[in-house]
């Protein structure tokens, strides 16, 4: 029994440590200016939404929010299509150079963004896509593609080959098999990919900072920097901005949680 209490205590401590920063951020965002001098872990005595209003209008978060929604949504949708099609070809089709392509994707998994940020910037600039959402979307897709091809491939290999073969015998083309047989039974992988890519795109700072220098094109993560100067810091503004930024991702996770877990564990056991 004592061991059980000990485990419970350790788990409660971990849960507290993980939720504490979020709680402190929320407390700070809800505090009026006169309460900001109090420690961050103390809840507000009087709740105000003034910080949110200020960030949304004066801080330009309305524009940043729309930019972020646009980029992240397009990222997620295009990634689902591209990664699933690539993985489909890798798993179900035979073609020359398949092994080389697989190796290329594995190599892609190993390269960190920071290592290639300068050549990436040069490439996007040479395409004339600096300060465009399209440039960021291209870069996002290229960088995350190996991860999601890998994820879809892991899911597709669990689909019996006989299904693909039965569809071929039934007269389906590869595109018809992809669309009518494979994708409808890959909902967990689709949702996981969509959710993860959306979240990564939503939270990314580095690429947006480099590829979107103009303020009107910026996203939420870059917008948060506006509340931080060299000598000063608008803690309430940053906190309110962080809460605004977190809410859509939390809602998406809550909504798709069941599918997400299934997608992440696909292929783990028979």
């Amino acid at each position: 029994m004592a061991a059980r209490y000990l485990v419970f205590g350790v788990l409660a401590l971990i849960a507290f440590l993980m939720t504490a920063p979020s709680a402190m951020t929320l407390f700070t965002a809800l505090k009026p200016p006169e309460e900001l001098i109090r420690p961050a872990w103390t809840p507000p005595t009087a709740i105000t939404f003034e910080n949110f209003g200020r960030v949304w209008t004066d801080g330009g978060f309305r524009r940043y929010f729309l930019n972020t929604v646009l980029i992240s949504t397009v990222d997620a949708i295009v990634m689902i299509v591209l990664a699933s099609m690539t993985a489909y070809a890798m798993v179900f089709m035979s073609f020359r150079g398949k092994l080389a392509l697989q190796v290329l994707f594995v190599v892609g998994l190993m390269i960190p963004v920071t290592a290639i940020i300068l050549p990436l910037y040069t490439t996007v600039r040479s395409l004339g896509l600096i300060n465009t959402h399209l440039g960021v979307i291209f870069a996002d897709l290229a960088l995350a593609m190996p991860v999601f091809v890998f994820m879809f491939s892991s899911y597709f290999v669990s689909i019996p080959k006989a299904l693909h073969e039965a569809a071929r015998v039934d007269g389906a083309t590869e595109l018809q098999i992809y669309r009518r047989v494979v994708m409808p039974i890959s909902i967990p992988a689709i949702i996981t990919t969509g959710l993860l890519e959306f979240m990564w795109s939503w939270n990314d700072l580095l690429l947006r900072l480099v590829l979107l220098p103009r303020d009107g094109m910026r996203t939420l993560s870059v917008g948060l920097l506006n509340f931080q100067g060299v000598q000063t810091r608008d803690v309430a503004g940053i906190s309110a901005g962080a809460v605004i930024m977190a809410i859509p991702v939390i809602l998406l996770f809550l909504f798709f949680q069941r599918h997400f877990v299934r997608g992440m564990t696909a292929g783990a056991v028979k």
């Binding site: 299904l163 073969e165 039965a166 569809a167 071929r168 015998v169 039934d170 007269g171 389906a172 039974i185």
Partner: protein
């Protein structure tokens, strides 16, 4: 409906050759069973006919047309898979009508054909269910229904009964036989179960290590096996294969005597053996005995008998039904 001809069909995976010069002609409307042990190449051969794998060498004719380069669809064949391979997200009706919907046939026509096939297979009540809501036997019937709807030239069935329990297997075996009688379509059926092969086939093709050992009617294979392998493969319980001095008496390296051609006798027994096991099946009794200088022998007796383990009995054999083989496993004389 169509006939099939396989001319010197070969299949290799890299340097490994898995099918060697398969030559076979299957008549229009015939029910042919490919049978053989695991890894003999029977499923591979079926997949080559279906167009799911490429033929390495030789030519395949379906309905007189060279078909080696054709896609599965162009070959106009239908296949029933061992795992049924039903589309889990579709209803029974959608599964059965999938091939027709791909051809963009009008919906009323698809519905009519699906309902017709469902009536044949007693699936009318299940048309709106998903495969996950069906039993193994029902799924099997849906898989067959999906094949029927297309009205193909040739049906290919890859061990379709292997996932069913014994009782359902027997029932479905009869249903497939009756279906063939009704449709009169060419059917190629793969199984490793020689009982299925014997009971269903017009002709059986016995494969071993990527080669055809023998092609013939079930009774031809039973009565006149072309090789020792065929002799041992066909028949249940298996034929007794005896080597050594007992075989030399018959001027053979190996002699084969089916269990049902042995008898337990008291007058002038050919051999004396000690019983090691008795299996009582009701309609017959299978006795396992050990004969000195001969080895283990299986005897199948009609009816019920009271032999006991450890008992010494005399064995007689119907000498006109002794099969003699040389060192290469070929019949002598």
């Amino acid at each position: 409906m169509a006939d099939l001809e396989l001319q010197n069909i070969q299949k290799s995976y890299g340097a490994t050759k898995v099918l060697h010069d398969i030559n076979l002609k299957i008549d229009d409307g015939e029910f042919v069973v490919f049978v053989g042990p695991s890894g003999c190449g029977k499923s591979t051969l079926l997949r080559l006919i279906a167009g799911l794998d490429d033929i390495t060498g030789g030519e395949l004719f379906i309905g007189g047309q060279p078909s080696k380069k054709l896609s599965p669809k162009q070959r106009n064949i239908a296949m029933v898979f061992q795992s049924y391979a039903l589309y889990p997200q579709m209803t029974v009706a959608e599964n059965m009508g999938f091939s027709l919907s791909l051809e963009r046939r009008p919906k009323p026509e698809i519905r009519e054909k699906v309902e017709e096939a469902a009536r044949t297979l007693k699936l009318e009540a299940l048309l709106d269910r998903k495969p996950g809501q069906l039993s193994g036997g029902q799924r099997q019937r849906v898989a067959i229904g999906r094949a029927i709807v297309r009205n193909p030239q040739v049906f290919l069935l890859d061990e379709p009964l292997s996932n069913l329990d014994a009782a359902l297997r027997t029932e479905t075996r009869v249903e497939i036989g009756e279906l063939h009688q009704r449709l009169k379509t060419t059917m190629i059926y793969v199984t490793h179960d020689q009982v299925e092969a014997m009971t269903m086939a017009d002709r059986i093709v016995i494969l071993n290590a990527g080669r055809i050992e023998q092609v013939g009617t079930p009774m031809e294979l039973y009565n006149s096996p072309a090789t020792e392998f065929v002799a041992s493969f066909i028949g249940s319980p298996k034929m007794n294969l005896i080597t050594g001095p007992a075989a030399s008496e018959y001027q053979a390296v190996t002699i084969g005597i089916r269990p049902e051609h042995f008898d337990i006798v008291t007058d002038a027994p050919h051999w004396q053996g000690q019983i090691t096991l008795v299996e009582r099946l009701g309609h017959n009794t299978i006795v396992y005995a050990r004969v000195p200088d001969v080895g283990p022998v299986t005897i199948s007796l009609e009816g019920q008998h009271d032999y006991e383990v450890g008992q010494t009995v005399g064995l007689g054999a119907d000498l006109s039904k002794v099969h003699r083989f040389d060192s290469a496993g070929r019949p002598v004389g």
